[in-house]
Amino acid sequence: MTSQQQDLFEYATRLGDSALILGQRLSEWCGHSPELELDMAITNLSLDLIGQARLLLALAGEIEGAGRDEDQLAFLRDALDFRCLLLVEQPNGDWAQTIARQFFFSAFQQLQFQALSQSADARLAAIATKALPEIAYHVRFAADWVVRLGDGTEESHRRMAAAIDNLWRFTDEMFLPDAVEERLTAAGIAPDATALKAGWLAAVTATLGEAGIAVPAPHRPVVGSRVGHHSEHLGHILSEMQFMQRAYPNAEW
């Protein structure tokens, strides 16, 4: 790989891993959601994200050129090699925690993919363009629930506000580019993550206002995913997600 290909591999892996791990997290709700309609909704989001992950990790494998496909990247890497945002690997918790995580991520992903749809890399632009109409559904779904719970009963408000506050410390990581992203931004391939923050904060502030929830005070940011430093939760997700390939290597069905 050339150095730009290495950067692109890394970047496509970050995008793909965030989609994959959030998709896997959401799938844990299957059969356990508060209502049947929500079970269908949350697993639909999961499916969309796994679809995005598949396209992005297939692209990463193609760029790497080492014969690894999207399945091998998903199922045969260990936690240190994963590049998903710390936000998406956080546990589902209650419905409010799941919604807060989704709301923060989807609002960010929408801005990120809007910018990526203009990427100088035609493959990334195509994937972003394909995913954007689906992401619009995710944003609307999550924002509606933030408002419904925030502006609901005393108990639902308490839980929604606690979830927003609890996950806030993981949001800074989305807007902190490293050298890889800076080089790709200079090449017109990746958006400048720093520049996405104002739009994200405006959208989040508007929804939280409607929900009657205060924007949390700045927390000490928790970061590390870019170099594979994850929370303890990732290993547990992987142990479940990767079990079959670990137990029966190369099994296909």
Binding site: G23, E37, M40, A41, N44, L45, L47, D48, L49, I50, G51, Q52, R54, L55, A122, A126, I127, T129, K130, A131, P133, E134, Y137, R140, F141
Partner: protein, 171 residues
């Protein structure tokens, strides 16, 4: 509307037998049902983007939703149908450029959806006006959930005949 491959616009350059093959391939594809909405063929659904007569035949399809599990099954069904129709060893390629949109569902496909009890998607350009109940045609309908039993459908309910129904989401 199915957007035909550019090759089809250049009939002059195509031999008669290749044209006959192309017609036979499209006819075979019109018999491949979408596994999740079996009333629609893959041609009605507008996911067939290009057909190259080959041999071997290459068919390019656009996935509807990125994670739609039916896409792979559709590939298998297309290969099986083409083999039956005398075109063994066909290749099915996927393309996401340009992305599939519900505007590519044919008029015939929309009529079939409605007859099947699924409210067809509205054209994206004129996305106004009520979603009509596919059973009693009432405009008095209510969304129950934006997400339905498959990625492409939302759950609605008619407030006149009170029946719940699926609506094919606009994308």
């Amino acid at each position: 509307m199915v957007s035909l491959p550019e090759d089809d616009a250049e009939d002059d350059a195509v031999t008669n037998s290749a044209t006959a093959d192309t017609d036979a391939i499209w006819a075979a594809l019109a018999e491949v049902a979408d596994p999740e909405v079996p009333v629609l063929s893959v041609v009605d659904l507008g996911i067939v983007r290009a057909v190259e007569a080959g041999p071997p035949v290459t068919v390019t399809i656009s996935p509807t939703y990125t994670g739609c599990p039916a896409t792979e099954i559709i590939g298998t069904l297309i290969r099986e149908k083409l083999a039956e129709a005398g075109f063994p060893g066909a290749t099915v390629r996927q393309s996401i450029v340009p992305p599939w949109t519900t505007d590519w569902i044919s008029e015939e496909g929309r009529a079939k959806l409605k007859a099947y009890g699924i409210a067809p998607p509205k054209p994206r350009a004129a996305n106004s006006g009520p979603i009509r109940c596919p059973r009693c045609d009432s405009p008095n309908t209510k969304r129950v959930s934006e997400f339905g039993s498959t990625p492409c459908k939302a759950l609605w309910r008619c407030t006149d005949c009170l029946e719940p129904f699926d609506h094919f989401k606009c994308l």
